[in-house]
Symmetry: C2
Subunit: 157 residues, 2 copies
Amino acid sequence: MNERMDDTYFMQVAIEEARLALEEDEVPVGAVLVKDNKIIARSHNSCEQLNDPTAHAEILAIREASRMLNNHRLIDTTLYVTLEPCPMCAGAIVWARIKELVYGALDPKSGACRSITNLVQHPALNHRVEIREGIFTRECARMLSGFFREKRSRQGG
Amino acid sequence: MNERMDDTYFMQVAIEEARLALEEDEVPVGAVLVKDNKIIARSHNSCEQLNDPTAHAEILAIREASRMLNNHRLIDTTLYVTLEPCPMCAGAIVWARIKELVYGALDPKSGACRSITNLVQHPALNHRVEIREGIFTRECARMLSGFFREKRSRQGG
């Protein structure tokens, strides 16, 4: 498989995870962690269910992969996530020494890889992450805007 | 008790937590979450033991308090932590809607409340945290510098 096919496949798995979040009435964000072309963790946002403000898809995937690899550094891994990571997740990505980050939709309100700041390539921090953007951007964004539109209409009704 | 006495007492508990981290050969950082003048969670950095890069003192305290309160928003709480929070923890503090943050030592390398950036009062994010600084600054910093000095000398020897 070439790199492009990998990105497409793994992002589709992340989108499947986001759909699971949607079914559970969670903000639909999914993440997949990949090492040596194999999925080592997959997860979706579960803040409401777990009563845990840190239970974003990325944090759950990082925690699962660290447990699995018995190592809190996830060297040579790629994280696929349907939404640009927030400051908390961007910070966790740096601490975990993740090599590459591939995200779908931009998050203009709290994205911390480009939108409001860039923490995964911050000059002061001791690790910098390679970023690939633009994969299934519209699909990922559509799922999120649909979720919030429905939520608003329920609250209004 | 006046506010100043509270700060002193709760920061001393956070320092006790940092000492527990030190005994476990973890980076000595401790945190205490307080609501209505009572401690609702206390924790210390446990990244090595838990094989979890997200297991900073602040994240563990937020997760514990959210479980305890059955709510992923920690309204009207104060977080005491011996070190200026990093980007990951600063992000989590904002998501948890923590009201006040009191920290001991500054972290010039990765502090995200003043040193390399200020995420807990970021104009783009939808919650801003009040900060109090300067409580047991030297004690907190001394514990950290001692830990890293000892670690370096062990590695060199």
